[in-house]
Structures are given as structure tokens and as C-alpha cells.
Amino acid sequence: MIVLNPKNISDFLDRYKKILLFLFLGLLVVSLGMIVFIENDYYQGVSFKIMFIHVPAAWLSLMFFGIMGTASIIGLVFKSPTSFTIARSISPIGLLMSLTVLFTGSIWGYLTWGAFWVWDARLTSMLILTFIYLGHFLVLNSFEHFQKSDFAAAILAVIGLVNLPIVKFSVNWWTTLHQGASVFKVGGPSLSGIYLSTLMISFFCVLTLCVYWIANIFITIIEKRRYERMKLFNE
């Protein structure tokens, strides 16, 4: 169990996080180049290019919530501080991603549908996910000690997991204004090949940036936890 010691993980991240930053910068140049130079969509024109930030952010906000919820369950069952710390460091980045989804999505919606916001199943369930993220983030920072806030926030994350399949499958279960899934769907992707590769590269670009941020937050929290423990010990 030496590997899973939080201090070891923190040291490991501290040593190798620079690689993530370089990867991000490389992918950023490539993906921006591709986004600028690929041909416009035959129907939506240039406005469809918002997709290359909207979709990665959407995938990541769902993915991060899944990881956060799983880490919270593991933390609750095994009382493991490492899992709680992982959930704590993902929370603000997940919130940022879900806000990005709502913001870019409403611009895209205004340009194509003709409305910034409608109350269809996909948009509403995504808004609920954002509120759960916000609640999780606030609960994490509203107690004096890590132990209490970790426990309360983890319960919220476990409950919030219920919303994930609803966000994903809302476009299949109900009629919505939002279009259906383009990539992860029965019968393969319905994007043109060049769009799919651009989307994947911009996804990994945003992913590396997010993981870099999460690693930084993780390192800071481990430091804070050590400080808190030392303070308790001295009292």
C-alpha cells in the first residue's frame, strides 16, 4: 500500500505534472490549427465549430462526476482520505467544465436553434448536474475540518450519480430540441472523419489541461491536510 500513500501520489504528480502542460500546449496548437482550417458544416456553417469546445467539456463534466462519485463511494466505504482528496480536487474543475458546457451551448443554441435556453430534458438535466457540482463544491468548503465536509460532500456526490445516465440518455428517452449523440451511439459516429479526429484531439487537449489543474489542486490539498494534522497534533 506504499503506492497509494497520498504523499507519494502527490510527489509523483509534482514531479511529472510538467509533462501534462507540454502535452496540452502541443495539442492546443494542433487542435486550434485544425479547428481554424477544417471546412464548415454544410448546414450550420461556421457556428458548428463551437462543438469542439462544447463536446469535450460535456464529456469531461460527465466523466469527472463519474470519477468523483466512484471515489466518494470508495472513500465512504473504506474511509480512505486519498479517495476523498481525489474527489475534492476534481470538484472545482468539474464545475468549471459544466459551466463551460452551459455557456458555449447557449451561444451555439442561439446561433442555430434561435434560442439561448429552452427547458428540454437535456438542457435541464445538465443544469441540474451543474447545480450538484456547485452544491458539492460549496459543501466541501463550508466546514472547518476536512473530515466533516468530505463526508457530507461524498453523500451528495453518490446521490448525484443518479443524474449521469439521465444527462446522457435524455435525448433518447424523451423528445428534445438538443440533437442526439453523434459519437457514442449505436451504429457508429455520425460525424465526418476529419471532424471526428479534430474532436478527439480537442478532447485530449482539454483533458490534459484539466488533469494538470486537478494535479495542482491535489498537491495543494495534501499540503493543507498535513498542516491541519500538525496543528491538531500541536494542540
Binding site: 466505504v77 434560442a115 430534458a121 460525424l191 471532424y195
Partner: protein
């Protein structure tokens, strides 16, 4: 002995959280099952005909914009919405249409259904999940494998 004790406590906690999760998911499932019709954003024209609606109630109808039905007369738009069962509903709309409204493309209309005409106050363009450049379409057309339009 001690190990067994910890193990059983772990099991209790695990079962506790699984019960929380199952309770909440079944609650959400039941709510969304009960509100199935309310959660859906729009009706298709054929679903709408089966409904019992009065002429004060706002209703959303969606489908494809029928070919050769869109026309502008005295700043009022007239068009038909058609669904897969080939059932259509006539719409009139007095404001500006969104850019992406085109014949044979998705459209959603919100308004009042009166005397077999839907008087719209909002029109939204619904695009689908297929994205491709015009050059790909031209290429597919020249090879004869394009199935759109």
C-alpha cells in the same frame, strides 16, 4: 477476529450506500416515468391530433418542414410541419424565422392550435446529429451513395 469485525463493518457501510443509491435512482425513475409526457419537449403532428387540446393552451409541435410549403405573404410566414407518418399540420408565424429554418429540416413550433391551424409565437430550428463538409456531400453525390435530401 479483529479483521472479521472490520470486514463486517465495511460490508454494512457498503450495503448502506448501495441502498441510498438504489432508493434515489428508483425515486427519480418513478418521477420521470410519471411525468413522461411533460418531460418530452414537443409532440409530433400525429401525436398532437390524438390529444385533446383547447385553443388557449400553448403546445409545442415538432417535425420536418414540409417540402414546397414555406411561403411569405404580407410579412406572415405560412408552412407545414410533417412527421414520419406523413401527417402534417399548418402553421402561421408573424415574426422572423431563425437562420437555419430550411425545407426538409427539423423545426419546432410553439403556439396555439385553433381551427386546425397552429398560430405560432416561437419557432426553433432543430438540427440533427450529422455533421459533414459540403465537399464530402458533393463527393458522395458524384459516387451515387448520398442518401440525404
Amino acid at each position: 477476529m479483529k479483521f472479521q469485525k472490520i470486514n463486517s463493518r465495511l460490508k454494512t457501510r457498503l450495503i448502506f450506500f448501495i441502498i441510498i443509491f438504489v432508493c434515489f435512482s428508483s425515486a427519480i425513475y418513478l418521477i420521470s416515468y410519471a411525468l413522461k409526457d411533460k418531460i418530452s419537449f414537443f409532440y409530433s403532428p400525429s401525436e398532437m391530433q390524438a390529444l385533446d387540446i383547447d385553443d388557449k393552451q400553448l403546445i409545442r409541435v415538432g417535425g420536418l418542414l414540409k417540402e414546397n410549403s414555406l411561403r411569405l405573404e404580407n410579412t406572415v410566414w405560412y408552412f407545414d410541419i410533417i412527421d414520419e407518418q406523413e401527417i402534417s399540420v399548418a402553421v402561421i408565424f408573424e415574426k422572423t424565422l431563425p437562420n437555419l429554418v430550411e425545407e426538409n429540416k427539423g423545426i419546432i413550433v410553439e403556439g396555439i392550435y385553433k381551427n386546425n391551424i397552429l398560430i405560432a409565437n416561437t419557432v426553433l430550428a432543430k438540427h440533427d446529429e450529422n455533421y459533414m463538409p459540403q465537399s464530402t456531400i458533393d463527393k458522395m453525390k458524384s459516387e451515387g451513395i448520398w442518401r440525404g435530401d
